[in-house]
Subunit: 400 residues, 2 copies
């Protein structure tokens, strides 16, 4: 057979997209149970309401309609339930306004495809969730970043960037942010929505951790500050049952403003025709079973205890001069190591000691802070957290 | 609130992508049971092995590992089973070489993203499956089409197009093609694979109908004609359990050559992190239950009978001068109406009579043949086929 020496090339965009270290570490830690992982943003195994989910699975009616192709935008009963929950939180929504997605990651990827012309500017905060910066890079976005602190993005810098770069989109993960843990306060949310209307850009509000609050009352969502008129809204909310029920189900959703719905529907056709019906129905049956709020309360208590266990021990485990904030919800502690430390080198030393975490570098789209690391406290009981942090302390000694 | 008058624009690519009429008609026919639909490419309700699927669901172990996030490329046991089936068909494959996708539609969309630089040329046959031309358009491909006949693409024209346009990719749905029903014969498959190596383009072999053969022995897949060396292969096979088990599960797969696997893995992370674990395990349990081959045989017999019922009545239902070929597998009869007929006008008249079908226009990326229609015979029993074709005959009279 005659052969050319050159292989067909891949899309250049893929040369710029990095694999998620947390996902790659998941492959490692799945195969090595002895490694203690603080790397992923995974629910605790103790958080699953297995009894409730088993009841939901057992109540499935495997009808031909459930087994066959289903409507693109998702099953009506699930869309109703999601819309009701949003409406109860002050975001009036009808089932028509919800599109079910294969996890909220798919919603993010679809929005990147629908909203981003190759070369269009998208503003992200420093640091941001890698899954969305991957999606935006694949879509051909030009990413411009804005610094963030304990209250979220720097609003003055954001306005300057918006004026200078005319973005089509701002991506925010505003509640218990991944990786930093911060929550953007209500007044800043209102100001950012107003800025979006004034300058003509949209906001993706990616809010999977919203329900995992340990202390304060919920902060109103960005969507709640948006115009009441569905045709003029600029905020696109996305959510997920992954952090609060079971990620293996891959059930998420999107709330596109009315003008986006036709394009989102075409995108959903192209992405996977529709999400799995059986997992949609498991969520429906589970929600109708009346156990969700109780299970959420138990999950919050579990994660609060683990957060406390971790933050109590950080002082002893981390090198002197390290900094971190104490999250009031979500899954992560975001740490800055003192000068002289490098997160990737520390990860190598830590892996050798039998503990892993996520280095901060992949969360930056430019000028990464090489001294940042992200620790998740959700999947280990307090004993495991203690043991893992002792191993990390040894790695710190080795790498310091 | 200050408002700009201009709404943020969508990606221009979405202005060129059309919604699937078959999917839109699914929404219509789901709400109106009295309409007889020949529109979709859906499995028959009688084809589902509900008993076998119920056993599979009942045997699920809802462990924390099953409920939590899973590995990007899919669950090991499912990948093993898919690889074994392929190996048994003459395509040596290991579990490492399979990526599980959320239906094969996702595999197609991921491949469009990974392989197609915006502006790159992709060759498609006339006509082609709309779901892939949607995906390619969203990825920014420049589509160049090649005529096809009863044996698939015109090979001389294909070679000229390849020389003139230097495509990165050729998309084929080679067995019981959607919409035409043709199967590309083995010698043409070998010639096209050789052409791909010689000219340096890749081939997507989208083969969801492969197992739905009613008569002949299977034609060897394109992949079986490709190099034995995984690093040099140019064919990327995709497959699905949608047409042979249950589309509601959304379980498909891709067989990327070794050099594509890292980019495909990153794409899968960005698209949905991983496919639902529960539906993957339902497929595993079902396949291990030993009922698959028997169920397939029953499905083949059912569809063969329905094909016969439809083709026997076409002469009486269609206007004189109509042309069609008799498919030897799959789900579709592809019809050319005589001069003076228009498929869209006929669909309007047909809908008024209570029967729907897919007009051929959306299957063309350029110069559509407005006299083509696609009828699916799978979802109606012979009586329903007779009634639907009588309604179609009335619509023909009204529209003629």
């Amino acid at each position: 057979m005659v052969r050319v020496t050159d292989r067909p090339q891949l899309s250049r965009r893929f040369a710029e997209v990095h694999s998620s270290p947390a996902r790659d570490l998941l492959t490692l830690t799945s195969a090595h149970a002895e490694i203690i992982s603080f790397a992923g943003g995974l629910p605790a195994k103790e958080a699953f309401d297995i009894e409730g989910l088993r009841s939901a699975v057992e109540s499935l009616q495997l009808t031909p309609a459930l087994l066959n192709y289903s409507t693109t935008e998702g099953m009506g009963d699930l869309r109703e339930l999601v819309a009701s929950r949003l409406s109860a939180e002050g975001v009036p929504t009808t089932a028509d306004g919800i599109v079910v997605t294969t996890g909220s990651q798919q919603a993010l990827m679809m929005l990147a495809a629908v909203l981003v012309e190759p070369g269009a500017v998208v503003v992200v905060v420093r640091p941001s969730y890698l899954g969305m910066t991957q999606a935006l890079t694949i879509a051909g976005a030009r990413l411009v970043s804005v610094e963030s602190g304990a209250q979220g993005p720097d609003l003055e810098q954001l306005e300057r960037v918006v004026v200078d770069h005319r973005p089509v989109l701002l991506y925010l993960n505003p509640t218990f942010q991944n990786p930093t843990g911060y929550t953007i306060p209500a007044p800043a949310r209102a100001a950012i929505v107003e800025m979006a209307h004034r300058h003509g850009f949209r906001i993706v509000e990616d809010d999977p951790y919203r329900e995992l609050r340990y202390e304060a009352a919920p902060v109103p969502s960005f969507t709640s500050f948006d115009s009441g008129d569905a045709a003029e809204q600029v905020v696109i909310g996305t959510g997920s049952f992954s952090k609060v029920l079971a990620p293996g189900l891959r059930v998420g959703w999107m709330r596109p403003p009315a003008d986006l719905r036709p394009a989102v529907n075409v995108a959903k056709q192209a992405f996977d025709l529709h999400s799995a019906t059986i997992t949609q129905q498991i969520v429906v049956r589970y929600l109708l079973g009346g156990r969700f709020e109780g299970a959420l309360e138990r999950t919050r208590a579990l994660y609060r205890e683990r957060r406390d266990a971790m933050v109590d021990l950080l002082d002893a485990a981390l090198p002197s001069g390290s900094e971190w904030t104490i999250p009031t919800g979500g899954m992560f502690v975001w740490i800055r190591l003192p000068e002289g430390f490098d997160s990737i080198r520390l990860l190598e030393a830590a892996t050798a000691e039998g503990v892993v975490f996520s280095p901060g570098v992949p969360f930056y789209t430019d000028a990464p802070d090489t001294r940042r690391i992200r620790l998740s406290y959700t999947t280990n009981a307090p004993d495991g957290i203690r043991e893992g942090l002792q191993r990390l302390a040894k790695a710190v000694d080795a790498a310091g």
